[in-house]
């Protein structure tokens, strides 16, 4: 579903992403892990054709991203890092607006299902600008899955959600993958990755320092947090923290 080869992105002299290669197959729930500012969001923006790489190639859902970024965004459901629904539409109007952009014919029922799933039907007539951050995240979740994409790319999926909704979303994502969907998430919360991902990549300062399945022998019998910190910390940093 996702093929990335030697991907790099520079901003002036700063290398935000440095020679990253990745391959994610159908039915995987891939988690890109890394500390803040390590390049996770930049990779997501390149995967979805929102920004162009400095070098390298990307293929998403069989489409060359550089050649047809619009087709990629048609096929994929995307939740960006910051929840940004337009301010003066209500929650329900926003979902209908997204359905129109995605040229869906029948959408009222699907929208209704999402209001029920996230239990925020009582706020569907509130303006997006007045919604809490958690509710906005629910709305962004709903818009990404409205057209039932085969691949979803999600930047920090559980941010701002309460524990009940977090559980609901985790179960949903696991079920989605079980039914043949593919999910790419980025997060810096290791626990999430451990609970739901089938495979992971760890990125640090723009470089992919580890990829593999969570049941990889390398990880067996090891503390996942320790493993992560070893890869993303400067020498002496962990002991200093301790």
């Amino acid at each position: 579903m996702i093929e990335v080869k030697n991907l790099s992105k520079s901003y002036g002299n700063t290398k935000a992403v440095n020679d990253v290669s990745l391959s994610i197959g159908k039915g995987e729930l891939f988690g890109l892990l890394g500390p803040n500012g390590s390049g996770k969001t930049t990779i997501i923006k390149m995967l979805t054709g929102q920004i162009k790489p400095t070098s390298g190639s990307l293929k998403v859902h069989g489409v060359e991203v550089l050649e047809d970024p619009i087709r990629v965004r048609e096929l994929v459901g995307i939740i960006p890092e910051q929840e940004t629904p337009p301010s003066f539409l209500t929650a329900e109007e926003y979902l209908h607006f997204v359905a129109k952009i995605r040229k869906m014919e029948q959408y009222e029922e699907v929208c209704e299902k999402w209001f029920e799933f996230f239990d925020f039907g009582d706020q569907k007539n509130s303006l997006c600008k007045d919604l809490s951050r958690g509710t906005r995240q629910k709305l962004m979740f709903a818009q990404a899955f409205l057209h039932e994409p085969e691949l979803a790319i999600i930047d920090e999926p559980l941010i701002n959600l309460d524990p009940i909704m977090q559980r609901k979303v985790k179960d949903f994502l696991k079920g989605y993958v079980k039914n043949g969907g593919t999910i790419f998430i980025s997060t810096h919360i290791l626990e999430i990755a451990k609970q739901i991902c089938t495979s992971i990549g760890i990125i640090y300062k723009g470089k992919l320092v580890h990829t593999g399945r969570l049941d990889d022998p390398v990880l067996q019998g090891r503390n996942f947090e320790e493993f992560f910190l070893e890869l993303v910390s400067r020498p002496g940093e962990i002991s200093a923290l301790a």
């Binding site: 920004i51 162009k52 337009p86 301010s87 539409l89 109007e93 607006f97 007539n125």
Partner: protein, 502 residues
């Protein structure tokens, strides 16, 4: 030199200290000048971040040049208006600028968050810094006065003074008059700033209190002044001081600045009452009316943004119809002084220019980041805004049609043609230069210069040609293909620019 970002831990922050119940000492007084400096830096960095540092640094230069060139026609204005009326216009303009600066500074959190994520200014940081709200806001006021004096007031006066030296401009040429003008325009600016600060403080306590207070003051003023006539407007103390310098008027100006500011600081409250609004779904119904029209969803969304945002559709009246009415009155007066000028033709021209400001409204409520993850290009969004622009242009189109039919039906066709071609050309220039962010990108010095160069000569040529009869406008039809070419180029240009802020 300590700064408010590097304040050491203070003893009053410890439990022992609280237990001893010693008197709280506000250490923020030690950092007064640091707060002021930091706020000035913050304001500059905020603007240079949005507009580009080089471009924004040139902005006062363009205020200077713009005022200079406009002031060169002062002799013509003096044929139509008295010096007192010109001074009145300038003083109320600066009163308004002061008010706008104050309103933006105090209520810009939403704008800031849209542009910079969850950003916060020092002005809102009293909860996180060991500095009292009053000290912070006192600095905020002084910072606004100093910063915008350098940005707006000084370049304006300098441009005006230079032009007044070069063209016959009566008393405005005298150095003494110009110095008093510098003082009184600054006073007007500060009165506007101070009044808005006060009104926002009242509003923070109670919206109802503000509106009932304003109503009571209006009734009181009507009662005191009886039938309002234009002389009432000369009661603005800074203006009265300019026209007839006296100690009393200066003191009154001083009181109008200090008392509202002091009251605002005493009763300071920074959290505004929030009203949550709820609307039933109008989007789907309105889209239904537009059928399979390609941009239906976007046009309806823009309409709902305009309707539901602050001011609602009243914006059309206050930001468009009222200025249009004032311009019509001005042009009618001008037509009487210079009979060669056809007021209706000129009005069609100015209306075309004024209409392009509607594009600014349409681009104010969202940023492309809200759409970047949908199958849309920047050019798709620009096209959707242009479609909404076409719909909004029906308002000036109808206004012009009614006016021309009422005054001189024989020139209906050329007037409408002129309006449409100018409106299209103006919006194409705006789109080419500023993309989806005209209200931000136009503040860039270079962009503003290009905009002025693309528009001013055209307007001057049109004014001159209009003296040869209304059908000269057929020449303006050449602008139509040029506008379409510019729009085509704009779509390519903005699709290639990778910028998360637009």
């Amino acid at each position: 030199m300590p700064s408010i970002y590097s304040m050491p831990n203070r003893p009053y922050m410890t439990l022992t200290h609280a237990a001893n119940n010693e008197k709280y000492r506000d250490y923020s007084r030690d950092f007064m000048f640091d707060i002021f400096k930091s706020m000035i830096k913050e304001e500059w960095r905020m603007h240079s971040n949005i507009f580009g540092s080089g471009g924004f640094a040139l902005f006062p230069v363009f205020i200077f040049l713009f005022t200079f060139f406009v002031s060169l026609v002062l002799p013509v204005f003096r044929e139509i208006f008295t010096d007192a009326q010109i001074a009145l216009g300038m003083h109320y303009f600066f009163l308004l600028v002061g008010g706008m600066v104050g309103a933006f500074g105090l209520m810009c959190r939403e704008f800031m968050n849209r542009r910079f994520g969850q950003a916060s200014l020092i002005a809102y940081s009293s909860r996180t810094l060991p500095v009292s709200q009053r000290i912070i806001f006192a600095n905020f006021l002084v910072k606004d006065v100093a910063y915008y004096f350098a940005l707006y007031v000084l370049p304006f006066i300098a441009g005006f003074a230079l032009a007044a030296k070069l063209v016959p401009s009566g008393n405005f040429q005298l150095p003494g008059t110009l110095l008093i003008l510098l003082l009184t325009l600054s006073l007007s600016f500060m009165i506007g700033l101070s009044l808005v600060f006060f009104l926002s403080t009242v509003y923070a306590h109670s919206g109802k209190l503000l509106f009932s207070g304003l109503l009571a003051i209006s009734i009181f003023l009507l009662f005191v002044f009886g039938n309002l006539d234009s002389n009432v407007f000369y009661s603005l103390p800074s203006l009265s001081f300019f026209l007839n310098p006296s100690e009393n008027q200066f003191l009154l100006s001083f009181v109008l600045i200090t008392v509202p500011s002091a009251l605002s600081l005493i009763f300071l409250k920074v959290d505004y009452p929030q009203t949550k609004k709820s609307f039933s779904n109008s989007f789907s119904g309105l889209c239904g009316y537009l059928g399979s029209y390609r941009y239906a969803a976007f046009v309806v969304k823009d309409f709902l943004d305009l309707k539901r945002s602050e001011g609602g559709l009243g914006k059309v009246i206050f930001s468009f119809l009222l200025p249009a009415a004032l311009i019509w009155m001005l042009l009618s007066a001008l037509g009487k002084v210079i009979p060669a000028l056809n007021a209706l033709t000129l009005f069609s021209l100015v209306l075309g220019v004024l209409s392009s400001s509607m594009y600014n409204w349409l681009t104010e409520y969202d940023i492309f980041a809200s759409y970047a993850f949908f199958p849309l290009r920047v050019s798709d969004m620009i096209k959707s805004k242009l479609n909404s622009y076409l719909f909004l242009n029906l308002v000036p189109f109808l206004l012009l049609t009614l006016l021309v039919l009422n005054k001189e039906p024989s020139i209906l066709f050329p007037s409408l043609l002129l309006f449409l071609s100018i409106s299209l050309y103006m919006v194409s220039i705006l789109v080419y230069l500023t993309g989806l962010s005209p209200s931000i990108n136009l503040y860039n010095g270079k962009t503003f210069a290009l905009y002025a160069l693309s528009v001013m000569p055209l307007l001057m040529i049109n004014i001159i040609l209009s003296m040869f009869g209304p059908y000269y406008v057929l020449v303006d039809l050449m602008l139509v293909p040029l506008a379409f070419y510019l729009l085509g180029q704009s779509f390519k240009k903005w699709d290639c620019i990778e910028n998360q802020l637009f």
